[in-house]
Amino acid sequence: MSEKKILLEVKNLVTEFNTDEGSVKAVKGISFTLYRGETVGIVGESGSGKSVTSLSIMRLIPSPPGKISSGEVIYHTKDGRQIDLLQIPEEEMRKFRGNDISMIFQEPMTSLNPVFTCGDQVMEAILLHQKVDKEKAKAITLEMFEKVQLPDPPRIFDAYPHQLSGGQKQRVMIAMAMSCNPDILIADEPTTALDVTVQKTILELMNDLSMQLESSIVFITHDLGVIGEIADRVIVMYQGNIVETGDVLDIFKNPKHPYTRSLLACRPPLGKRLSKLPTVKDFMRVEADGSITELNTSVEEAINKVVVSEATTKERMEKLKEKTPILEVKGLKTWFPTNKNFFGKTTSWVKAVDDVSFQVYPGETMGLVGESGCGKTTLGRTILNLAPAHDGEVLFEGRDILSMNSADLKDLRKDMQIIFQDPYSSLNPRMTIGGAIQEPMSVHGLLSNEKERKDKVESLLSTVGLDPNHYHRYPHEFSGGQRQRICIARALALNPRFIICDESVSALDVSVQAQVLNLLLNLREEFGFTYIFISHDLSVVKFMSDQMIVMNKGKIEEMGIADEIYNNPQKEYTQRLIGAIPKGELGDIERRIAASKRVNA
């Protein structure tokens, strides 16, 4: 890459949205350049304007309410013409979409049309932009499926999206986007909804393809770790502005803007044990008018402030084990029937949880990690008797939960609570958040009257870091992180002693994730909770837990002290999980860049 050819120039792009409170600028006049053959990562938290930027380039901003109010997006074609994509008529623009500039979206689950086969959807793009007949288009499609390493392309060609896994769907999306050899591929959080192990394979695939097909990639994500795995250059966006640009190594070695530093620091580090995660607040102060005051903290300083020594960890563990276990799971099996014979007798089972036994001590956090489909969520639900167990025992303080009658179970719900994965769908949109938090208290007859309950809700809201005056607001007025705080407050309403967090931070940005994780840890110290913490991300689980269980195909693969498992994983599966985490370490990035230079040379 000796001579850098300009491919796309974005100049002073402003995009705004009309809302009830007047027009809001999502992108506030940003400029950047994309060169041929490079991968640029745009990083920032939700609401930073990174997705809006990409949709503006494609001119796919939903309008109304959105509008590109000014700026230029100049595309340099292969034959040397320069075209401002914002000025050309819509029909002209359509010829560029999918052909010269294509896009992959965040949600592979919903981004494919459910009523057409995958093959049809990819073929559609090819037939539209290339002058080929159906036969040839099918051949190209199958070839693309081969390239994105889908198993058995002819079968995938005829399969409907719901018959594929999330990773496979994202591969189909990539095949669709790459099918016309685009100059630019815009990938908007393409791996955020996927497991870390699947994320790793998708990132590798995109790296390979960009080299093979010589496309430039604009890779949008909230996770700097992922950027380290794929990008050549990084653009950091914060509240609609670009706050920092630079080569990926520079950004990781020497981040200048405090926001970039906070993004680097807030990912749970793997090598060290921290008492809490550094957050944006440790690096800068955001004033009410949106201006930023830098606090001059470096990433190392922030992390060193909260690091916990090995001795302290050991001491804590020993103290925990002195007590009798609060929860004992013995030979637990949760099987779901898949086939029944004529007489209604089950002939085959899906063994979601198969013979699992472990113990949790009071005050401890037990981590549960594994890929999606490994049975970790089912295990969590079976422990609460929310999913029917096939066999086994779950003893909570010596009483078997599985054989309890409904009155005892209702009592038990006071002690054991669960926080679900998706803060968007686990709150009733027609209930005020105050009402949602208060409901479990009314159901269980806690506190004597409405007034006391309301006071309690308000104190809970401030415990989880929300404004008690928001009592009468509805869920849609809150961001994802705030909603998860509401869910936590709701779980706390019954004064439980035992909480299961089922992928509670997976839907959140890393910066927000850090805040919620810190909150959960603070609550553990303050109220002495016992957690079971379920996640597909080993780094998050390791940060949270004292002990850890690695699950695979319904069985326990490995179990023990979290740090020990990480430092010395015994099973190949655990090693794979650890290997898949985007670590964002300098050595890895240097190695990757060196490798790609070798290929190009």
Binding site: S102, P114, F116, H162
Partner: protein, 322 residues
């Protein structure tokens, strides 16, 4: 009833026996079900038995023969009309055809107009046109069909009849001045409109709402990002996903129209199933009423099975066995 006031005892008895009125209601129900069943046990030796095989009402094939009884395969038999003494099935079959045509044309036209207006409304979301269409459809839902039927009949069939050349009332199978039967398609127009107004309004709203949902879906954005034209995105990618709830409503209405164009058929003197049923009710012609209720129930079930099969074509995620 059908004998008039001066019938003597003997005739009444004979009539009662013929109509099986001398049995208890439970027994009569049993006989009725047995008559309906395609397989039944009939008596072939005793002409006085209520299920005597050879009285000319049954079209059957004998399967197994015993001493007094035999098991037969037969066409369902719904008895005879009290009024006309004709087999119920035959009467209803003749009346079902015009009703079927009326229901098909009403729902067909309603679907086409409703879906088109619904798409139009969704694409112009929030504009004057959208609001206008919604207001009109609310009006359409609120007007009872017998009222709109009366208004239509008077306005287009009477006041404007010189211009529209339409009759105020009339059946599909009309009798000409010289006594020949002919199909008078003109008489289909007004009932179709009167029956179609409510379905149009409801289909419009359903299509609009469902389209609005689908147009916000991620896969529609994907289709646009592919470079497809607006038209193709809407018709191919959005509409097919939006149609599911609309199909439910269309078929629901279709079944309802088959059954219940009572008022409209009566007002327009359109001699179909609904007209016949109302007439039979006023005449206490119970076999006929029972028969038409059965046929209506059957058509509901049939249409719904059809819809379930249709769904699997519309949405591959639905598995008919699952």
């Amino acid at each position: 009833m059908s004998l008039g006031q001066n019938a003597d005892e003997e005739t009444v008895m004979a009539m009662k026996k013929k109509l099986r009125l001398n049995y208890s209601p439970a027994q009569r129900l049993w006989f009725y079900l047995s008559d309906l069943s395609p397989v039944s046990i009939q008596s072939h030796s005793n002409p006085d038995a209520p299920l005597y095989l050879k009285n000319g009402d049954y079209q059957y094939v004998e399967w197994l023969k015993f001493k007094h009884k035999s098991i037969v395969l037969k066409k369902p038999y719904m008895g005879r009309s009290f009024q006309s003494d004709k087999p119920v099935l035959e009467i209803l079959r003749r009346k079902l055809v015009p009703t079927l045509i009326l229901a098909c044309s009403a729902i067909g036209i309603a679907s086409i107009i409703g879906v088109l207006l619904g798409i139009l409304s969704a694409l112009n979301y929030g504009t004057f046109m959208d609001r206008g269409l919604i207001s009109l459809s609310v009006l359409g839902i609120s007007i009872p069909s017998y009222f709109s039927a009366l208004v239509l009949a008077i306005v287009f069939g009477y006041y404007l009849s010189d211009w529209t050349k339409l009759n105020i009332t009339g059946p599909l199978l009309d009798v000409s001045d010289v006594g020949e039967y002919f199909i008078n398609w003109k008489n289909l127009i007004l009932p179709t409109i009167a029956l179609g107004i409510r379905p149009v309004a409801i289909i419009l709203q359903l299509t609009r709402n469902s389209m609005l949902d689908v147009l916000r879906a991620d896969y529609v954005r994907t289709a646009k990002a592919k470079g497809l034209s607006e038209q193709k995105v809407i018709i191919k990618h959005a509409l097919r996903n939006a149609l599911n709830p609309v199909v439910t409503s269309i078929t629901g209405w279709f079944a309802a129209l088959l059954a219940g164009a009572f008022f409209v058929e009566y007002i327009f003197d359109f001699k179909g199933l609904g007209h016949e049923t109302v007439h039979a009710l006023t005449m206490f012609d119970f076999p006929l009423v029972m028969g038409s209720v059965l046929i209506i129930a059957f058509s509901f079930v049939f249409v719904n099975i059809l819809v379930d099969i249709l769904y699997t074509y519309l949405d591959p995620r639905i598995n008919i066995n699952g």
